[in-house]
Symmetry: C2
Subunit: 174 residues, 2 copies
């Protein structure tokens, strides 16, 4: 096991600001490109990250730590953000993500005492029994997955432009 | 073709600061993890990006734009950074990368007039004839490849920790 709460929070607290710095001011060509039908562009990924802050991670942790007997996570719609208001500028979305994330990290620190809570169990509707520390680890890995997705989508925009160098750039072939 | 110089520079100028924000202050566990023997950790990737600023991208563009008749790129050692001084703190390396990148973007803007230069040719020792715009496109895609690499390496550190969620996180299986 590599997980520890302090290191997990290091990543969680860096994601919004790193994405803000990287994405703010980019041309529409970078922000709107995707990998084809049914795939997300950078803006849609940010919206999905916001959705997770609103309706997923902290709710699951709170449920595991609650006194209730039923600890089955309610269904989570991974595509809910695709119905969002689309006219909000990206800068405002990034700002919203930053604020929600800061609030959730603050809640996380208050909720979880590592020595007591990491092995507590909840029930995932598909996976069955999962540990609190697995939820937090997944929160971190989910951030990293979606940062990598944004970067990959942007790189692939230059898949043809790099000419023969595509041989050396495996990201463009994924 | 998606390449245009202004948009390419948008990415090139964001990479150092984004990496600085993301990596500065991370625990050694995040900074030193890799994908096994002969693979790079985040610090080694930053060193590799520095090497490219010193000895690759601008030199190739200058050669293409030079008056000489031989425009064959000199060999470039992609592993040169692995012999570097290892006791320099990461913050100093990130600072060096930022300074070199800013200088090189400044040179790029002075060197290249898009209307005149994008189709000019150089000779790659393996690929043969390559266009100036392909060199710049590759510089951008190379940044994105290595940002994605850092993110992927870090994500895989939690490959076991996420428990059953590995099914949903394809980055962990790469």
């Amino acid at each position: 096991m590599n997980f520890n709460l302090k290191e997990a929070i290091e990543v969680l607290e860096r994601t919004p600001q790193s994405l803000s710095y990287f994405l703010t001011g980019l041309s529409e060509g970078w922000l709107r490109c995707n990998e084809g039908d049914e795939t997300w562009n950078a803006i849609e990924v940010v919206e999905h990250l916001i959705e997770g802050e609103k309706n997923n991670w902290i709710q699951r942790l709170e449920l595991i730590l609650s006194d209730g007997s039923n600890k089955t996570f309610p269904p989570y719609d991974r595509f809910a953000h695709l119905n969002n208001e689309i006219n909000v500028p990206l800068e405002e979305k990034l700002q919203e993500f930053s604020i929600l994330r800061a609030q959730n990290i603050s809640k996380l620190k208050k909720l979880v005492t590592p020595e007591q809570h990491l092995e507590l169990l909840g029930t995932h509707p598909v996976f069955g029994s999962v540990k609190l520390r697995e939820v937090i680890s997944t929160w971190v890995a989910h951030d990293l997955t979606h940062i990598a997705q944004i970067i990959r989508v942007m790189a692939k925009r230059y898949g043809t432009d790099v000419g023969p160098w595509i041989e050396y750039l495996s990201i463009l072939k994924k």
